[in-house]
């Protein structure tokens, strides 16, 4: 019997993976071949999805991107024995896109069946949790602190400091909340954890629960991820049935359980205090800080709130030790960052690497430039609130501090590439429009400013008092930057100001639109 791997990641599904899996089964049957299909996760090489792999004595051999009409030809080419075909990639791990990565967090992604507990255990699963149970709370916090891990949700706050605050705060009940709202355009790493390696997140949250003394965890996932929600719920059930969650985790005497909650289409609920409000059943309005969630969080109890990737990295750190993680990276940015290469890019996907590559290396060498083959004109880093970088800034190293020095942010690691057909005034307008749609409405600079911003940009488009309106736009951006309560209103000016600064030629009346 030959094992054939057909990914169940939503990217593969969106490109026909279910039908391809069915066709492989049907064709094998018709030709008398004995195959069994494994629905693995994705390797994150999205430009090759659906990437089908076949287990051969020489290792797994990959073919991609496969379409339904390739299936018969693949059989003709003897792909079940690794035969030659135009779509043959060879061993996936030898592909340059994977070979150049340092996969610490995403080590299993694409290799295993995401919901198989056997597979997870066979690939270093639960080693971190077992060690965490052995060494206990204070030593776990110490490992996380020494690893230098910083929050991967955007703000880059040291994870160990957060855990220590919650561990040191006395309370009858504490919570671990996983922020899986992943609203940033151009990001999908959290989604991949849910779909492609969900036990890693379960393990990470459980380690956190042990570290801080929490017994209940919530994952708050955006509703735009129906497939991730399904996969994670399935994993939760299986983990609970096998005793990895529940009253007595792995016989340690510690209780911990996790519940998945689904958001309802509000970007601002990714902001940690709005998320807590939403979990409690209220409108997603940002809370003023202090109090910090670490002291006074969900239902007024001490709460760790961390991004998926921050929590999902804990198992590696515990299993291999803080140093093994901290040895990667540069400056104060330790370890690896799962970059997400998106937009108009030739080789799009997940690229986990140590901090320190330059933006140019990432976009041109790894991403292969644009998918359209036209020159790169702009790269938006860090989601919809992140700055646009022109090729002139491609020497910027990928590191929290280096990006901040260029008025940018690395955020959740999303990198969105645009070719030379992009109109930056349109993108600046979109930043304001998005802020207006998603504003929680609590403070005036954001609620009113974003709508005024759109109007001012429309005037510039129409050629009305262009110079005066550009000055007004700049002024409005400064007001939003310094007068907003949270980073939605406070950072929305970054894409606008960076577009104005780096692409002044686009900030003039647009004849076509003005004529309408």
């Amino acid at each position: 019997m030959t094992r054939v791997f057909v990914p169940r990641d939503v990217v593969a599904l969106a490109l026909g993976a279910d039908k391809i899996a069915a066709a492989i089964v049907a064709t094998a049957k018709a030709r008398g071949a004995d195959v069994s299909i494994v629905r693995n996760g994705s390797r994150g090489m999205f430009f090759l999805e659906p990437l089908i792999e076949v287990e051969t004595p020489a290792g797994r051999i990959a073919y991609g991107p496969v379409t339904l009409k390739d299936v018969a030809a693949l059989f003709d080419a003897g792909f079940l024995d690794g035969g030659t075909h135009a779509l043959r990639i060879g061993k996936p791990e030898d592909h340059p896109f994977l070979k150049r990565q340092t996969r610490l967090t995403f080590a299993r992604s694409g290799i295993t069946d995401p919901v198989s507990l056997e597979d997870y255990a066979a690939h270093e699963g639960w080693l971190g949790l077992k060690r965490a149970i052995e060494i206990g709370s204070a030593a776990i916090v110490d490992e996380i602190t020494k690893s230098g891990l910083r929050g991967r949700g955007g703000a880059g706050f040291p994870t160990g400091v957060k855990w220590k605050t919650v561990a040191d705060t006395k309370a009858d009940r504490k919570y671990v909340v996983c922020n899986c709202d992943e609203g940033d355009s151009g990001t999908f790493a959290d989604r991949m954890v849910l779909e492609d390696d969900p036990y890693m997140l379960i393990e990470g949250m459980t380690i956190c629960g042990l570290a801080v003394g929490a017994t209940k965890g919530y994952v708050y996932c955006r509703s735009e991820y129906p497939h991730g929600i399904k996969a994670f719920n399935e994993a939760l059930q299986r983990a609970r049935a096998a005793g990895y969650l529940g009253k007595d985790v792995l016989g340690s005497g510690h209780a911990f359980d996790i519940e998945l909650r689904v958001g309802a289409g509000a970007y601002v609920c990714g902001e940690e205090t709005a998320l807590l409000e939403s979990l409690e059943g209220r409108r997603g309005m940002v809370r003023a800080k202090p109090p910090l969630p670490a002291i006074n969080g969900l239902f007024q109890k001490p709460t760790v709130i961390n991004n998926v990737l921050s929590l999902a990295t804990a198992p590696f750190i515990l299993a291999h030790g803080a140093k093994a993680y901290a040895d990667f990276g540069m400056g104060r940015s330790r370890g690896t960052m799962p970059l997400q290469l998106a937009g108009n890019i030739r080789y799009g996907g997940l690229f986990e690497t140590a901090f320190g590559l330059t933006l140019g290396e990432i976009v041109e060498d790894i991403g292969g430039g644009t998918a359209s083959g036209r020159p790169v004109r702009a790269v938006q880093c860090g989601g919809p609130l992140g700055a646009y970088f022109p090729p002139a800034l491609f020497d910027t190293p990928f590191d929290y501090e280096a990006f901040a020095a260029k008025d940018g942010l690395i955020g959740h690691g999303g990198i969105v590439v645009f070719d030379d057909t992009v109109d930056m005034l349109t993108m600046a307008r979109f930043a304001m429009e998005f802020c207006a749609i998603e504003s929680c409405g609590k403070c005036t600079p954001c609620r009113i400013g974003s709508t005024r911003g759109q109007e001012v940009i429309d005037k510039i488009l129409a050629g009305i008092h262009v110079e005066a309106n550009l000055r007004l736009l700049e002024d409005l951006c400064q007001t939003m930057k310094f007068g907003s309560l949270c980073a939605l209103g406070g950072f929305a000016p970054y894409p606008v100001l960076s577009a104005m600064r780096h692409y002044p030629e686009d900030f003039k009346p647009h004849a076509a639109i003005a004529a309408e």
Binding site: D184, S185, F188, G263, A264, A266, G281, R282, F418
Partner: protein
């Protein structure tokens, strides 16, 4: 889809969630799942059960984009409008689709078959433009591809 709220079923849904911490969002999701939307007559039922004011429930219901208060078409098509999809031409594909269907954003086709909603990222950002047709994801969206997805759905 029932035109008026089945009060007994509504109460069952509410009761099934009362043991949760912070049950309001799960309840509203369950209403949309069961009835396709949250009818205004559900608001006092929920408020009563959770010991909240009607205004509080109304406030939550209207804050979130997902909780529709009127029935949608038989199918819901969500087209991504966020930056990474824009970089791959999503806006022009969306304009085509809307024109073909003869609706604007949030609109439902005259035959009640399809409601079109904007969505801001589906996590398919390396393979855009992206869309979700009911729960079926679509990458590398083109107007032609959409036509065949719709035809396939209508044929079953």
């Amino acid at each position: 889809m029932p035109a008026v709220l089945d009060a007994q079923r509504a109460q069952e849904i509410i009761d099934a969630h009362l043991a949760l911490e912070g049950p309001l969002l799960p309840i509203l999701h369950a209403f949309v799942e069961e009835f396709g939307f949250v009818d205004d007559t559900a608001v006092p039922l929920i408020a009563n059960a959770l010991n909240l004011s009607r205004a509080e429930v109304h406030g939550v219901l209207t804050f979130y984009h997902d909780f529709r208060r009127e029935p949608a078409g038989k199918h819901v098509l969500k087209i991504c409008r966020a930056e990474a999809c824009q970089a791959r031409g999503s806006e022009s594909v969306a304009r085509h689709c809307l024109a073909d269907l003869g609706v604007d954003w949030h609109g439902t086709t005259q035959d009640g078959a399809i409601t079109v909603e904007p969505v801001y990222c589906l996590g398919l950002c390396a393979n855009g433009p992206s869309a979700l047709f009911d729960d079926e994801p679509i990458a590398a969206l083109t107007a032609d591809k959409l036509v065949s997805v719709i035809e396939e759905a209508e044929s079953v």
